[in-house]
């Protein structure tokens, strides 16, 4: 295929940032819910928050921070011509996503088996503030978990494009954009973790 294909590196990247801004406003809305109800039910948020397991939350924080490191390094690797290192790092990112979701599976299973889930009978017996806490916990971490899965799929797709050299050291904005999405997933969790798992007093 000859002929000049017009590419807009800055435009492609800026377009991704614009999309990320909409995600910031989406999750921002969920954090506003949290803030309003925290102000209304300070004691219940503390008592309900203590039911959450800081090891699951903290562990998942470390997993996501490391996954972000991997995807960031993968771009440097690709640009320096280290294609197989890039692919292994991206595989590592997807592995981190899997670990995160497995942790979440165990965490949620434990809660659900104790009757703590949206709409449960047990939830209705709790204080209103505690019920609200768990409802927005499931809403926020559920939507976040969905983004983890989507992010992992996007990175997998980028890996396929890298393998076929469609993404390469001279044309890598798709990988950068996939990375930006993944970092957003990490960013959201950076705020979720202290607000839901570390309000102990």
């Amino acid at each position: 295929m000859s002929g000049h294909v017009h590419k807009d590196y800055t435009g492609a990247k800026f377009g991704m940032w614009l999309f990320l801004f909409t995600e910031v406003l989406l999750f921002g809305g969920l954090f506003i819910l949290y803030a309003v109800y925290l102000a209304r039910y300070p004691q219940e948020f503390i008592s309900a928050g203590k039911e959450l397991n800081v090891w699951f939350g903290g562990g998942n924080t470390l997993v996501l921070l490391t996954s972000s490191l991997f995807v960031a390094i993968s771009i440097t690797a690709l640009r320096r011509g280290k294609k197989s290192l890039c692919l292994r790092l991206l595989g590592g990112t997807i592995a981190c996503a899997a670990i995160f979701m497995i942790n979440k599976y165990f965490e949620w299973s434990a809660k659900i088996s104790h009757g703590i889930y949206p709409g449960s009978e047990h939830l209705k017996e709790l204080q209103p503030g505690e019920m609200v806490f768990f409802n927005i916990y499931y809403l926020t971490t559920g939507l976040h978990g969905l983004h983890v899965i989507i992010g992992a799929l996007i990175i997998g797709w980028a890996m396929i494009l890298i393998k076929s050299d469609r993404i390469n050291a001279n044309d890598f904005v798709i990988l950068e954009n996939a990375g930006l999405y993944w970092h957003l997933v990490d960013l959201i969790w950076i705020f979720v973790f202290p607000l839901y798992y570390l309000i102990l007093h």
Partner: protein
């Protein structure tokens, strides 16, 4: 087709930022064990904002991007702050 791409971030820079993020995570967990009253939430938010700043600036490359990217991020955060602020102006004074 040749384009000016931003400079390549060294592996070491990413690794140092990652270590910083791990340390800040530890600090957040450590501080949360003490009862600082209403200050707990603000300290937690402050450390989270610092961590977020590192991720945005280095991992997401914002530090090396043009003013257009920085201004539009700032605008988004200003909009979010407005949503939060006006919500509380309502909710706190009902």
């Amino acid at each position: 087709m040749s384009e000016e791409h931003a400079h390549i971030v060294p592996y070491k820079t990413f690794a140092i930022v990652w270590i910083g993020l791990l340390i800040l995570t530890g600090v957040t967990i450590g501080v949360a064990q003490y009862d600082l009253g209403p200050l707990n939430v603000w300290v937690a938010l402050g450390i989270a904002t610092l961590k977020a700043g590192l991720v945005v600036a280095v991992f997401m490359h914002m530090k090396y991007e043009s003013w257009l990217f920085k201004i539009s991020l700032f605008a988004t955060l200003a909009i979010l702050a407005t949503f939060i602020g006006l919500t509380f102006v309502d909710v706190l004074y009902r």
